[in-house]
């Protein structure tokens, strides 16, 4: 780069002289264009002849010239902003904003001559423009652009890029980019019969080392008349790529499974309290999740209209609010309905089902039946790659969040007075009452707490699910399955069950399809519950009978 910068002034000062020279040049052939490489101004002047052949040759020369303004010129040509004067054959460049400069020197032209016409293109020229743009990107000062350009060559397998690639490799100093360039070069030579066999074999190995889908495509598209050694190397490469891809596919599915597991955990975790600890069959649990999601929607609406700068914090603001709203709804339900039904699980089931219908219809009446748009803050959008596996930020955060909620819950139950009272009341209600614990209040608080947890789950799930009045219904059966599968009253069981079911579901999907996979899981859980009615981590012995 330094060399380029140093020569810039030289180029500018020589420009005029060169300009005179090009007038005598005959229409170019590609071979002669190569020769003009050392003569940037001459190259640029060839655009002025308005001949497709000259334009193409000039592009070829420009792409390997190392001229820092080359990409600007190629871009202008592509966009129809490279102009020439039919009289003088002088070439000008008009910026997107409309300012006209001399194409060769970059000097501003205050009064451009009248009658300027854009340099014309045909399909051949357009291809050449693309190739030149690609080649120029290979030597762009920005390493990220060079990397992209190398990837583009790798993908296109366009043999014409080879000279540009060679030039770029010679100049490249960044190790990562150099590897990418070498891989791109390998793709171009592996199927090229004019390259030495040993080099082609080496190229095949280099491609195989990349190990992704595109490498696989490159190796699979080898010409049929390639030498045996090359074919063999390619076949070995294909095999190793396939097995590594299969491994990555499993890893990706495990990741999806973890993601699904975190969703299940979030949905089930509140239920693990209301059902697992208190033994209340709350069929309106899914609606608590739904109310949490709608709270997020309302918070975002308010922020959008009155304080848009807070949008990045919208989820953080929604969390405590969702907890409060759903906890209050939960306490209300407990005090008005559920407390009259303790010890009658089937009646509780029916009554809470009724409540779920009422809550759904209430939300439908207030917000309408359609899906509501809940936005993602910037830190929840986008994704990154680990090897062959794509990881989206929203899924990652939801996994982290689910685990945080889980451990917070463990802490509350094990380390706080509320947790102590809850355990006391659920284990021996009469004894707890005799010791002065107000059991009714603890019931209400516990139920409110479980509902509140469901509410904050709703905040997270609003990021990945449709926020509609039916949101909760999709979770209720799954949540019960997770809690029952993990063993009622066992929080760690819920954790293991959620992730276990999530991963099992996603690993089954490639073979069975999404719906059938879910059915298989459901059937397996049904069979499992019938074998071990108390779940994975059941308490044994007399305590169970109580």
């Amino acid at each position: 780069m330094r060399i380029l910068r140093a020569t810039r002034s030289g180029i500018v000062s020589l420009a005029l002289l060169m300009f005179a020279g090009i007038l005598f040049l005959t229409p170019a052939t590609p071979a002669r264009a190569q020769g003009a490489a050392a003569d940037p101004a001459g190259t640029i002047a060839r655009f002025g002849t308005d001949s497709y052949g000259d334009t193409e040759a000039a592009l070829g020369a420009l792409s390997v010239s190392g001229d820092p303004r080359a990409s600007e010129i190629v871009e202008a040509l592509r966009d129809g902003r490279l102009l020439f004067d039919p009289q003088t054959k002088a070439v000008f460049l008009r910026s997107p904003a409309g300012a006209v400069t001399d194409a060769a020197t970059g000097a501003a032209v205050a009064a451009p001559p009248a009658g300027l016409r854009p340099v014309r293109m045909n399909n051949r020229v357009r291809r050449a423009v693309d190739a030149a743009a690609g080649a120029l990107a290979l030597v762009s000062p920005d390493p990220a652009k060079r990397l992209d350009a190398a990837a583009a060559v790798f993908k296109s397998r366009d043999a014409a890029a080879l000279p540009a690639l060679d030039a770029a490799i010679a100049k490249e100093s960044d190790a990562r980019v150099k590897t990418a360039l070498a891989e791109a070069r390998a793709v171009l030579i592996v199927g090229n019969p004019s390259v030495a066999e040993a080099e082609r074999v080496a190229a095949a190995r280099l491609i195989a080392a990349r190990g992704d889908q595109e490498a696989l495509a490159a190796l699979s598209n080898l010409p049929a008349d390639s030498p045996a050694a090359v074919k063999q190397a390619a076949a070995a490469g294909i095999e190793s790529i396939n097995s590594s891809l299969a491994m990555w596919a499993v890893a990706q599915n495990v990741w999806y499974g973890l993601s699904l597991g975190s969703v299940l955990l979030l949905a089930a975790i509140g239920l693990a309290i209301t059902f697992g600890v208190m033994g209340v069959i709350n069929m309106a649990h899914g609606e608590m999740v739904m109310i949490g999601a709608y709270t997020t929607f309302v918070v975002q609406e308010v922020i959008r209209t009155s304080a848009p700068f807070l949008f990045g914090w919208s989820l953080a603001i929604a969390l405590p609010l969702a907890f409060l709203v759903t906890a209050l709804v939960g306490i209300l339900i407990e005090r008005t309905v559920i407390r009259f039904l303790y010890g009658r699980p089937l009646e509780t089931l029916l009554a809470t089902w009724g409540i779920s219908l009422i809550l759904q219809q209430a939300v439908r009446s207030i917000f309408g039946p359609t899906n509501k748009e809940v936005g993602a803050p910037y830190w929840m959008s986008g994704s990154f790659d680990i090897g062959q596996m794509a990881i989206t930020y929203n899924r990652l955060w939801i996994i982290v969040f689910a685990l945080l909620v889980f451990f917070a819950l463990l802490l509350v139950l094990k380390r706080t007075m509320l947790g102590l009272y809850v355990r006391a009341v659920t284990q021996n209600r009469r004894m707890a009452a005799a010791m002065g614990i107000r059991t009714g209040r603890i019931d209400a608080l516990t139920f409110g707490f479980g509902s509140g947890i469901a509410g904050i789950a709703g905040v997270a799930l609003s990021q990945i699910d449709n926020v509609s009045p039916n949101l909760g219904q999709g979770y209720i059966i799954d949540s019960f399955m997770v809690v029952v599968f993990g063993g009622v009253g066992n929080l760690w069981g819920t954790l293991v069950a959620a992730f276990g079911l999530g991963i099992a579901n996603k690993l089954l999907e490639p073979f069975a399809g999404a719906v059938l996979g879910k059915i298989i899981i459901l059937v397996l859980i049904i069979l499992f519950i019938q074998k071990r009615p108390r779940g994975l981590f059941a308490l044994k012995g007399r305590a169970v009978e109580a």
Partner: protein, 249 residues
């Protein structure tokens, strides 16, 4: 099959472990034909677990449990064991609340237990007669059309004993029959049990020492899942260890 033992009930080296807790610890016990035995012991001594093992509710972790010398109780389920002739009365009286006294006895009568044949069932004269006799024996003839839910606690205890008799078992397991009864009812119950023991074997679990004295039979003391002492009530009452763990000094 060759009988392994002459005893009606034969428990040998039976252990039950729940999550590391030994509810029964190498318990051995035999009950003879037409013998009545009282079992006492502090809470958690394993009395209920022992009954659970005998009736098939709990599978022993190890050990042998034989009935009439040929039936391996560890391999059978509750229904099969009940059909062999082992009847059980629970600590809290469990009768069928929504059925009449008469229907409670009818369901208990030793008859065909299969689902299909009971659809076509018609009451026979023999069944009628046996119900009459049972009602007489538990002194509830005048209560026969009342729903069991309406009975007093003591009446429910007696009804349950009547149901046990209706099953015509060879061995009766009776858990705290005198709990919640008046003194008179307790004495009557003891007499009823002694009467039953003339023809059938009875195992009584009881806390009430007066009641055990009334029964006047061999006593087995359980402690921490195994037999601590065995003998007459006076013998075991004099035993140092029994006094220490159960009766108190």
């Amino acid at each position: 099959m060759e009988p392994v033992t002459q005893s009606l009930l034969y428990l040998d080296n039976v252990s039950v472990v729940f999550d590391g807790f030994r509810a029964l610890n190498a318990l051995s016990l035999t009950i003879d034909e037409a013998e009545m035995r009282a079992i006492i012991g502090p809470n958690g001594a394993g009395k209920t677990t022992m009954m659970d093992v005998i009736t098939g509710k709990t599978r022993p972790t190890k050990g042998e449990a034989m009935f009439a010398g040929i039936h391996d109780l560890t391999k059978l389920d509750e229904a099969a064991i009940a059909q062999l002739g082992i009847g059980r009365k629970f600590q809290t009286p469990t009768v069928f609340d929504m059925h009449t006294v008469e229907d409670n006895l009818l369901l208990a009568l030793k008859e065909d237990r299969r689902a299909f044949s009971n659809i076509y069932w018609r009451r026979t004269a023999r069944e009628k007669e046996r119900i009459e006799i049972l009602l007489e024996r538990i002194r509830m003839t005048d209560q026969r059309f009342r729903k069991a839910a309406e009975l007093s606690h003591g009446q429910k205890q007696w009804l349950e004993i009547g149901m046990l008799l209706a099953q015509e078992p060879r061995l009766l397991l009776v858990d705290e029959p005198a709990a919640g009864m008046t003194d008179q009812e307790t004495a009557d119950t003891a007499e009823l049990l002694r009467d039953i023991a003339k023809t059938q074997s009875v195992v009584v679990v009881e806390h009430d020492m007066q009641f055990v004295r009334d029964l006047d039979v061999k006593v087995t003391v359980l402690h921490e899942g195994s037999v601590l002492a065995e003998g007459s009530l006076d013998q075991v009452s004099a035993n140092e260890r029994v006094i220490e763990v159960y009766l108190g000094r």
